[in-house]
Symmetry: C2
Subunit: 324 residues, 2 copies
């Protein structure tokens, strides 16, 4: 309801009377007043006069009421341990497809393979619960879908040349601006749920010496509207959910990919694969042509883009400055 009130206030260029609001939303004027008071507590500045209410300013927070169509599905936390942990708990208890856990900051943000994902205020951190009717083998397509949606959002809003690094990073000028982590709970046949965690370096600052990461703020030289970004991104994801098993998704990924045709070094479950990335298959696995011409498939893993063809030793160290 707070979302509906904010929406009505935003759509009105002048003061909006309590009577009109009450009529429009079908709730009592006392109820309106209570919601207004609660919004003020959240940091909204709302002017009140005999003519009614007027929204003066909104806090820079990803509060559920900022997404009126999704309000019921959003679990919001000013700070949380990890949105992944909260979402898993919710999913276990039966939370439906499309449930979203948003946090302004995470104390223990998680990346792939139990790595830490730094999550200070200013970033965008959320986990989306999905319940697709697919076999676990196809779950990596959800990663592709989410990364395509993030890159599409960055391109649409800022015209930046966002690229995808297999399996699940989004890069701007070769630097990571977004990480994606997907966790699933499944039988051998069928996925129960896949939780997709997306962490975006939005209005955070990345230290100058850090050559492998960037933020939208650092790239653009200005702060972005996190609300607008998240709103557009959720739309881009939703639009692609229906396409999850379609060839179009793979085509879109290929178009945005910065990995295809590059020499890569993949570390996957202890195995190192070096070669040219030539394609992805229907499960989202990367197909690599090794120097000896043989093809190798990587289902997932750490991927480094190599600047040039390096000896196919499958072993030697690759120095940091030659890699992303």
């Amino acid at each position: 309801m707070k979302g509906q009130i904010l929406k009505a206030l935003r759509e009105c260029s002048d003061y909006l009377s309590g009577e009109k609001l009450s009529e429009q939303l079908g709730i009592s004027r006392v109820s309106i007043w209570k919601h207004i008071r609660s919004l003020k507590k959240d940091g909204y500045v709302i002017g009140a006069s005999p003519r009614g209410y007027r929204l003066v300013s909104s806090p820079d927070l990803l509060l559920p009421y900022e997404f009126p169509d999704l309000e019921q599905r959003i679990h919001y936390f000013p700070e949380i341990g990890s949105t992944m942990d909260a979402a898993r708990e919710l999913a276990r208890k039966g939370a439906g497809e499309g449930t979203i856990v948003i946090a302004e900051a995470q104390a223990h943000g998680r990346g792939r393979l139990s790595r830490e994902w730094l999550s200070p205020k200013g970033g965008i951190y959320f986990t989306l619960i999905l319940r697709p009717s697919i076999s676990p083998a196809y779950a990596p397509r959800i990663n592709l879908m989410a990364s395509v949606a993030v890159a599409a959002t960055i391109r649409k809003l800022f015209g930046l040349n966002a690229e995808l690094k297999w399996p699940n990073d989004v890069l701007i000028e070769g630097r990571k601006v977004c990480g994606i982590l997907a966790e699933m709970d499944a039988e051998m046949d069928v996925v129960n749920f896949v939780n997709v965690g997306i962490g975006i370096n939005a209005n955070t600052s990345v230290p100058q010496f850090e050559k492998t990461a960037t933020s939208l703020k650092d790239t653009l030289g200005r702060k972005i509207s996190r609300k607008e970004f998240l709103s557009v991104l959720l739309g881009e994801i939703e639009r692609r959910q229906a396409l999850l098993m379609e060839a179009d998704l793979l085509e879109e990924w290929k178009k945005l990919s910065g990995t295809l045709n590059k020499y890569v070094r993949i570390l996957s479950l202890g195995e190192v694969i070096v070669g040219r990335a030539i394609d992805i298959d229907t499960t989202g696995a990367l197909i690599i042509r090794k120097r000896n011409g043989s093809l190798k498939k990587a289902l997932a893993g750490d991927c480094i883009h190599l600047r040039e063809e390096t000896p196919d030793t499958d072993m030697g160290a690759v120095s940091r400055q030659h890699s992303v």
Copy 2:
């Protein structure tokens, strides 16, 4: 410790003095006495005389002390909702590889796809927590491994011609004697844990009219030792865990398979596939040659063995009496 005491009593053909027990196990005689009292409470009949203790009889229960080498890893319940639910909770909290949840009966035993698995007393119901370093794509091999171990145990102990029905049933004379359910928690890269639930119709009775199921008791015409069965089975599983990613496992599965070379009807995520099962691939997927010669892969699903070649309509109903 109770397991060690039982073991010592069983290894001794006569009375075993408290003093000797105390020496052998390195605990006080008072401690021995307390454990004996506790064992009696569990249903063990233990004779006591001035010469010491003697085990007269043991209850027909799968108590942890019956498996002295595994005692610390076993969580035992006389009755439980579902061993799968308990194991998931334990795995989430970090329970190690090899943790086992055993129940004498389950109130809400689960089969694949949220189906019910009837679990009255007399059966063997347990869930084993595994933490293999494999990609989720290979997790179905754990099903194959578990079903091979069950069939091997039945063949070894009773000389019965147990066969495997893809993906995860064990049949005797075409009737199901064991069901296996595996659930995983995974990132796209790597499995966090796979819980394997095994339900065996051991000393239960299957109604005469039920043509698709049987029990070991009904087949053999006598009760079996559930303890011996579980002990041998856990050994057969452990031996194969190291072979999970080896070709040998697939070869063993193929040898025991009742599905290969049969005409099958597979229902997998809403799709029906009819044809001859000709092979399995490295992920455990079944490869089916349709009547038109084309090959089709089923990652998982419901499988019906057809008695004879049926028209490859991919649609029509198959009557119960022609199928298993």
